[in-house]
């Protein structure tokens, strides 16, 4: 190891992204660095150029200059130990600033290929560089987002909605302030200063975390949105788990169902949410339970009986119909609250087939309407089951009556499973909303 290489290693150990624990990797990195000397006023990078490397300031200082419609302005000054030029490499985009030496400056240059190689072997470096990418960002709101502010228990909360993806994001008043400033012109420094002016708090971390959350959720376009995928190391285990997850949980989605649901609700079901209707169905369910349990003896004899009852085939259409009614219960309750049904569909969830309704638009409502939507599926399902139970009563003694009882008993169990809060079904969402403070 040469003396120059040793001094580079000592220097790298003090520079945040390059504090690599593996001595061999650190040695390789040190050898791949190239010395560059600059005189005062030398332009090292020019805004708009394609980047082929990033730079470390060994001594001296450089200024970062950005050109906009008002002219060129100094963004910051970087001194010994600072890294610059990494954004263009990680995002595959042109240089976003010009860098000029403020004095005689010594730099170390790392080429893109060498950076990729080191990143692939050091997760700490990847994390630190991505953090730097976020800190030096000028994030911008994604176009077409809508927002709605709701007051819950006296506190205003804003929910952002991406109508195309059907995605939602909740913001505190502080988060909303930051969101409103994300115009692609303000950097984190500007935003943290404006935040201080508004809330009298030194909170760049809060601003940075708000932006990072919005970028990773796709509501804001930032550096991380343009990440060059070839620069991101991928672990075999991570890729395997991702594939397994997509294999065990997949969905076929039908979009644009909301106009249909809207028509169905207003034409046929708007009466369902009235008090007289609800009182009637509570009474009806009570009768249904009573009839089922009054026929318990005949149900038990069905279970121990012999021979194949061809009427059992009726269980298939009855089950499909109950699924349809259950899902319509969720969808039409969403419409009762004036919200949008984003999609319906079917798929596979770990060990069983699933049928579903995307009720995410209920995030724009408070918790009790959300709970009502979650419980509406099992509730209308119960009405249907008890209707079948009533039929079994009128045709007692027949083979068809036995099928109705088997269906009723099985469906009660299915409802209990749907209400189980441990599994991510209706009961899970209802309990989650019940515990939520908003």
């Amino acid at each position: 190891m040469t003396r120059g290489s040793l001094s580079r290693i000592e220097f790298l150990k003090q520079v945040s992204p390059f504090q690599i624990k593996d001595p061999r990797l650190l040695d390789q990195l040190a050898k791949s660095l190239q010395d560059i000397s600059c005189q005062t006023g030398d332009v090292i990078l020019r805004q708009g150029e394609i980047g082929d490397g990033c730079f470390l300031v060994v001594s001296g200082s450089v200024e970062i200059l950005q050109q906009d419609e008002k002219g060129e302005k100094q963004v910051t000054v970087l001194e010994k130990g600072s890294l610059f030029g990494e954004t263009a490499l990680l995002t595959n985009s042109p240089r976003n600033a010009t860098v000029r030496a403020l004095e005689n400056t010594q730099l170390l240059k790392l080429n893109k290929e060498d950076l990729r190689r080191v990143m692939g072997r050091d997760p700490h470096m990847v994390r630190t560089l991505f953090e730097l990418l976020n800190l030096r960002d000028r994030p911008c709101q994604k176009k077409g987002m809508t927002s709605q502010t709701i007051t819950v228990e006296g506190f205003p909360t804003t929910v952002l909605k991406d109508p195309v993806r059907g995605a939602y994001y909740r913001l505190s008043p502080e988060g909303l302030f930051v969101w409103q400033l994300l115009d692609g012109l303000h950097n984190l420094r500007d935003l943290a200063l404006l935040y201080f002016q508004k809330f009298h708090q030194f909170a760049p971390h809060t601003v940075a975390e708000t932006i990072a959350g919005l970028v990773s959720s796709g509501f804001v376009v930032g550096n991380m949105s343009h990440l060059d995928e070839t620069m991101v190391p991928k672990s075999f285990l991570g890729q395997f788990l991702k594939k397994m997850s997509s294999f065990l949980q997949w969905k076929i989605m039908i979009r644009n169902v909301d106009p249909f649901m809207e028509r169905v609700y207003h034409k046929y079901f708007h009466w369902f949410t009235t008090w007289p209707a609800q009182l009637f169905f509570i009474f009806f369910n009570g009768i249904g339970f009573f009839i089922f349990f009054s026929q318990w003896g005949s149900f038990r004899s069905l279970l121990v009986g012999d021979g194949w009852n061809y009427f059992l085939l009726l269980l298939i259409p009855l089950t499909l119909l109950s699924i349809f009614i259950h899902e319509m219960g969720h969808a039409l309750t969403v419409k009762a609250f004036g919200r949008e049904v984003l999609s319906v569909g079917l798929g596979w969830y770990w060990i069983s087939p699933i049928f579903y309704v995307d009720t995410s638009d209920m995030w724009l409502e408070q918790r009790w309407p959300r709970i009502a939507v979650s419980l509406a599926g099992p509730y209308v399902h119960l009405i249907f089951i008890n209707f079948i139970s009533l039929i079994s009563f009128f045709i007692q003694g027949s083979e068809l009556s036995g099928v109705c009882l088997i269906f009723t008993a099985g469906s009660y169990l299915v409802i209990l499973m749907n209400l189980n809060p441990i599994l991510k079904y209706d009961g899970y969402y209802a309990l989650q909303d019940f515990q939520a403070s908003h």
Binding site: R136, Q201, V373, K424, Y425
Partner: protein
């Protein structure tokens, strides 16, 4: 704390990872060490600083049918 002081602190926060983690762990100690004069009101604001964001992405609500 003047506007200029805040600007300098933000610059340091942006460019010094050690300062970022120190400020998160013990903001009072960092401010005292840097000999920055804070008013009574600013000390209160610093002490009640909320490091846990309440802002969050809302997960997709998929009401599935267990069969």
């Amino acid at each position: 704390m003047s506007y200029e002081t805040v600007g300098k602190l933000i610059d340091k926060w942006l460019n010094d990872p050690g300062f970022r983690s120190a400020l998160r762990e013990n903001p009072e100690a960092v401010i005292k060490k840097m000999k920055i004069n804070l008013s009574e009101e600013e000390w209160v604001a610093l002490k009640k600083m909320d490091w846990n964001m309440s802002d969050e992405a809302l997960s997709q609500r998929v009401n599935k049918f267990f069969s």
